[in-house]
Amino acid sequence: MHIPDGFLDAKTVIVTSAASLAALKYGMTKAKKELGERDIPSLGVMAAFIFAAQMVNFPVMAGTSGHLLGAALAAILFGPYSASLVLSTVLIVQCLFFQDGGITALGANILNMAVAGTFVASIVYNTVKKLRFTGSEMTAIFLSAWLSVLTGAFLTSFELAISGTVSFNAVIAPMILVHAVIGIGEGIITCVAVAYIRRILDIKPQAFANYNERGEAR
């Protein structure tokens, strides 16, 4: 889903870059407030975690496999602002060092996955969780992960179409279909991971005492 260089036209590049730049700036001040001087080591290692987690493959269908995106996972674990910062860092590193996604398309990629992905995820998660039916927690996690994948796919198709690279009608159906399926895997993995992390954190909070609440140890 990483858009390469050359697939977007000038106006799309400018608009998406400006939008993601603004979102990043805002996210940075928010994260700094949330974490204080702990922001660099915490978010830095967590970005490395998301980077590594994206290497994790899961089976999809008939022997094919997808890999984790981690937008919802990050949003649920760190909150939307820190998550968007973490995801953006990962995308920048992938663009610069792994040629995964283009430098002129970086703004668009950040917007699709790091900004929209994490915000859709946390909005869906918080809304569904509040409904309080049996299994609302797991449903919330699953839906937020699934929709974050779909959001990315939709925005990507939209930007490509706006740029005149490919016609909207031709790209939207296959993109949404493929990602709706991959999103199921993302949803299941996110559910299992979040549930397991919570289970362990409930028992062994001292290791994360300083991680969850700032200022405690200092």
Binding site: P205, Q206, A209
Partner: protein, 278 residues
Amino acid sequence: MDYAVEIDDLAFRYKDGTVALKNITINIKKGSKTAILGHNGAGKSTLLLHLNGIYLPQRGSVKVLGVEANKENEKFLRKMVGLVFQDPDDQVFSPTVWDDVAFGPANLGLAKEEIELRVEEALKAVEIEEYADKMPFHLSYGQRKRVAIAGVLAMKPEILVLDEPHAFLDPKSKENLYNILEKENKEGKTVIVATHDVDFAHEWADEIIVMREGEVLSQGGTEVLCREEIIKEAGLEFPKVVRLIRKIRGLKVEKIPKTIEEAGELFNSLINNGCHRD
């Protein structure tokens, strides 16, 4: 007596209620080589984090070089007490070795020339000058350990504190570490090492503190490590030299040899003067 560290009735519990330290009262002499021994989870690491104010006392007090540990004296503590963490990967986080060693001095707000000088000195002290431009990831574990130590030395602390420095080191790196610690101590630094390597402690240290489940079981010279009740209670074992001496029937020595080599000398004289005993 001049003390580097004075701890009085220190207690600490984590937020979840786990008690990590209770009634810790110890004094560590200036210029000494002190080993803190204890099983995994005895509270050694938590204690060390109190020495430079990362954790502040919840009860009791910690004094470093006569200065009370509290929020105001934080900067002083960080400058005076250099803490080397167990895993060098936790400590060495910069793009290159040089930058990592310069991180501490830069935080002290020193001038650029002074920083450069200190980095050079520190790299020399642990003999990794040639790796200055390398990325930490390209170094071996032992080398990264040395970078971590250099990063602390560059801050010129009065007290050098190391947490389990031997874990994962191969014999050559261990010897190297031993030499670094000896040198720093000779230059007047107080060196404190938390470890469960009883052989190292017995050979190197002149002060021993034995901990068990958040409490201090015993403090004293290396003779502490010859006392069966303490060793047993702390879940440790006798140092090899002590085990050897204890095995010899009817042997009374004034001072138990510290190293295997000293033990060898002792036996040399015993065997050659063997007849006197008959």
